[in-house]
Symmetry: C2
Subunit: 183 residues, 2 copies
């Protein structure tokens, strides 16, 4: 039986992007379905992720896998013959999962704060966001990729030789906010 | 070289409990060090988890592994010869990780709300907490353990044939709150 893979996603999602890069790296053929998460979630999304009702959802032969970090691990295990994403050494694997989780907990939550807040709260969010990006940058150091010289799981977050200047990233987010009329 | 394993913990932590059960199930000898996380974090904790400065931290031959779900995976991989904790089938593994993550995101956050809030907010937290426990209970169904008939990763959360009545759990938390003078 040929594998049937569907990805339910919403294009701006950094979590969906994680899963898409993992599928592309493995050369998995999949059907991409864009979800209207704001106004009209599909019955399939509600059925496949009844707990959170959120994208991305990976559906493999009718069975759902939710949460992007878990999806990346699943994809790495099922299509294990090509382009390993997570290190096989338990310690390096734990480190990769730690930084993926850090991005989930910190970059996403604080990034959202720079969109949703104003005044003093915004100033605080800007500072915090800059610190978070600096932490990631210092972990990356002079290595081309997280974890060493090989493209891997963490590059779902940063497909670049090094991260851009944290101050510039924060400035860019704030310009986007203006551009889209959030200010 | 014999393995040197240290666990930095604070006894009431459900996350620390996860890691302790994993170590015990594997029969790993480890040194338990209680941390005064409220008033006086040890220099070792600050050095080993500089990002979050939180327990539990598992230190294996001098190298730290942080975040309890990642610690359980690490323990399962390093001491793989005994009592497998996570299923080896990728789909069942993804499901186990999903529910462990659900507990992290929901039970902990909402459980804390029942401690920290009063009045209307508390009533809402109680309702939400009850719903979360019901969701877990319906996932467990009539099976003795999450994922089937075998003790596994998810029993870090529930070492019982089935979960207790959700209403009773919420009531118990509220009685504890009173007992410890939080009300």
């Amino acid at each position: 039986m040929e594998d049937k893979v569907i990805l339910l996603n919403f294009w701006p999602s950094m979590f969906g992007m994680r899963t898409m890069i993992a599928l592309e790296e493995k050369g998995v053929k999949y059907e991409y379905r864009e979800e209207d998460v704001v106004k009209n979630k599909s019955p399939l999304l509600l059925e496949m992720n009844p707990i959170y009702k959120k994208i991305p959802v990976l559906i493999h032969n009718g069975k759902p896998v939710c949460e992007s970090i878990i999806q990346v691990q699943y994809i790495d295990e099922v299509w294990s013959d090509k382009n390993q994403l997570l290190p096989s050494d338990p310690y390096h694997r734990a480190q990769a999962l730690f930084w993926a989780d850090f991005i989930e907990k910190k970059v996403f939550v604080c990034g959202r704060k720079t969109w949703a807040t104003k005044g003093e709260e915004l100033e605080e969010a800007k500072k915090e966001f800059t610190e978070i990006l600096k932490t990631l940058q210092s972990e990356l150091g002079d290595k081309p990729y997280f974890g060493g010289n090989k493209f891997g799981c963490m590059e779902r977050e940063s497909v670049a030789k090094s991260l851009p200047d944290p101050e510039k990233v924060v400035g860019y987010v704030l310009r986007l906010k203006k551009l889209y009329g959030y200010e």
